[in-house]
Symmetry: C2
Subunit: 439 residues, 2 copies
């Protein structure tokens, strides 16, 4: 089933071979016909001198662009051909699926249609080689992350996406009729990955969907995305999480560079830089000092936090000062963190938490969790969280839950930063938004 | 952070070490105190002669079963101790999280409570070592499957779980309000993994949740489970799928045996048998002949298919006759297969499809798909499927979709068969059913 790689056709000169692929272009001239065949391994020209096989020529002339075909022919050197100096002299052609003509969108070339028609015809949009590369990179990213986890003894879990009550806040929650009652779609696996700690699984990870009923149409929002989540026990503090995360990310980025560095440079014009360890770490307080020195004051509604603009400035500042693309921003004030983030015993207005910025964009959020049930309940009440709906969660901490913490992020976010995409819709297999349920 | 394995404590005799874990049992005697500490690496006894450290003895006496503790002490040989002949002479104890007493359920011992209370307190139920092993096996299974896929050039996809219309049939569908309209939860990634074929991704896999609004309470049903899905292009027929699947499963089972064979024998009393290749393959027709010879006639409502009882009998028959735990059952009649299964050109009442039985239980379902849009539309109409809601799906086949096929199954199903569990609720991290939304 595995077919011959077009890159290696030179090894087959003089032989008869069969190739599968799509008709990238067709030129039907008076005497000659030329098909450019495209498949994941590259592009190659197949040619036919019409009078040598008029019956076949007739079939070829019925071809349309993007038809799926299986063709057989003689591999011949032809220095006039740009694609590797070889071509196929066509002997047989089987049209597996003839594309209707014209195509509903033009998926190739410099003048691509707008994003909406491309999303309408996502299966054609995905045929561009850079989109294939995008999902190859995603595959490598996930694989490298899991390899690292597994080497470190992590267990893979699949937490339920249907919940009896909201996980974090009541906002942006999808609600659905569920037999005699009502259920909610998980906004994150937060509570359930913490349950794994209470269950003694000690180190877990999950890559799975989460749902946000967010009505915004920005380039960073979607209603469903793939969340990457990690949680582990017996930590001393959030510092252990950062120590882990930076090694894990370095391993992942290294794997991407090894597997796709050249292709990324070719298709996305960017270099994959494997980061040095350790990543710089600065407190939120220090970050604000650095930014004020550069004339930036955070907007009042973002007290104690950074807006995307501030994050970008800080990213630049760290790159200039320390030559690093990453920076851990630690010790966020309680006001901007959820109730379950642990606070410093000697400074209870500050949480043992961090964000990781990459190229000035927020990649992950992490924290040590509060595992003492009484403290947790007090913190929840302070934040206005009703205890009754989360009673099941508070129960996790009553019968011997070890100290623990973790972090999480959206997989698309990582791909956007890594490859320089500006819109989450482009890096999602099938984007979902308030007005986008198809295909 | 990685702590010392209890299995290797003999290497630490004479040293002071720190261990994390749970108080499995506590014996507080007149002169001596004994803690059995449990963690993922095993169990060990920690002892304290009270008069040597009365302050510490007082802390120990406040301990409760299942509390999470960090203890430090001297490793000493003690031939009287059953647990490896070593014990810890307690010097320090830090109670990270004191368990309330009594425990709401008893998670250990021979007389476990019923399933419902155990599911109510799943985080305690999961503390039994065999449950930890279950999720370690799951982790190994997924890892081995992905390794094989990746070696074969597969791309990992994450298809949307929120859909604009039903994927296969209107039955058992969760519906939810979605901004100005209504959406549905995916019952399978079927249509979207086929889209990847139309997109030219050629070989894809996904492990992710699917949802079924099934009101039944049987031991085999749940409303949410993890589906394992594979799809690939340019196949000649469903035979290519079976050739792939049996190698892939053999690789996976081999990995489980390597990593956990001994532990599975110890905890589940069963041996993991790595299957020989190829797996037996018999047509549905032949299966019915075999079963009739054994006095079995399929119930009339199951015409052309097997009921679970028939599958069990056939599994036994194949094991007796051919000595194999697996059997591919091929060529199901059109009547029992969905509209998108391809039919034989010379026998259009039979589909190019298969089920794989393992130990007499259905594991996977697979088929070559119909990729010709006109034929597909006719088959859908014949099955009473309305074309309008699936128009987006039919569109996948209009612009050059290669021949393709795939298979899928529930991950819990595999674990149940592999480890001999009888109830899906036991092998799911957190089971969801019509009346089960918590924890």
């Amino acid at each position: 089933m595995r077919y011959i790689s077009i890159h290696r056709l030179n090894d087959y000169v003089g032989q008869i071979i069969t190739l599968n692929g799509w008709v990238h272009t067709l030129r039907d001239q008076k005497q000659m016909q030329f098909i450019i065949l495209r498949n994941p391994t590259g592009m190659v020209q197949a040619s036919l001198e019409k009078q040598r096989n008029p019956a076949l020529a007739e079939v070829v002339s019925t071809l349309t662009r993007e038809s799926a075909v299986r063709l057989t022919g003689h591999v011949a050197q032809n220095p006039d051909v740009r694609l590797g100096g070889v071509e196929i002299q066509l002997a047989e052609l089987h049209i597996e699926n003839r594309a209707k003509s014209p195509l509903p969108i033009e998926p190739f070339g410099k003048d691509l249609p707008g994003l909406e028609p491309r999303l309408d015809w996502r299966h054609l949009d995905l045929r561009r080689p850079e989109n294939r590369l995008l999902f190859q990179v995603q595959t490598t990213v996930e694989s490298a992350m899991r390899d690292f986890w597994q080497r470190e003894g992590f267990i893979e879990i699949h937490t339920p996406k249907i919940m009896g009550s909201a996980s974090e806040s009541g906002a942006e929650l999808f609600e659905l009729p569920y037999f005699e009652t009502i259920a909610y779609l998980a906004q994150s696996p937060q509570f359930y990955k913490q349950m794994a700690m209470a269950a003694g699984l000690e180190r877990v990870f999950e890559i799975g969907p989460v749902f946000r009923a967010n009505p915004s149409f920005t380039s960073r929002h979607d209603t469903e995305f793939t969340s990457v989540d990690v949680e582990f026990s017996w930590i001393e503090s959030h510092v252990d999480l950062m120590d882990f995360e930076e090694q894990w990310l370095r391993h992942t980025i290294f794997a991407v560079r090894q597997a796709h560095g050249e292709a990324i440079a070719e298709h996305f014009g960017s270099e994959v830089t494997v980061p040095d360890l350790p990543f710089p770490r600065i407190t939120m307080e220090e970050a604000l000092v650095r930014l004020r020195e550069r004339g930036y004051t955070p907007p009042p509604q973002k007290q104690g936090d950074l807006c995307p603009h501030g994050e970008r400035l800080l990213g630049e500042n760290i790159l200039d000062d320390l030559g690093h693309e990453f920076v851990f921003l630690v010790d966020y004030p309680v006001s901007v963190r959820p109730f379950y983030h642990m606070r410093y015993p000697d400074n209870p207005t500050v949480t043992k938490s961090f964000d990781l910025l990459w190229k000035g964009l927020e990649l992950t959020t992490g924290a040590q969790r509060e595992h003492r049930p009484d403290v947790l309940a007090v913190q929840a009440k302070e934040k206005g969280v009703r205890l009754k709906p989360i009673q099941y969660y508070l129960d996790f901490f009553k019968y011997g839950c070890p100290p623990h913490g973790g972090f999480g992020f959206g997989l698309t976010r990582m791909l956007m930063i890594l490859l320089g995409f500006k819109n989450v819709r482009e890096v999602t297999y099938l984007y979902r938004g308030p007005r986008r349920l198809y295909p």
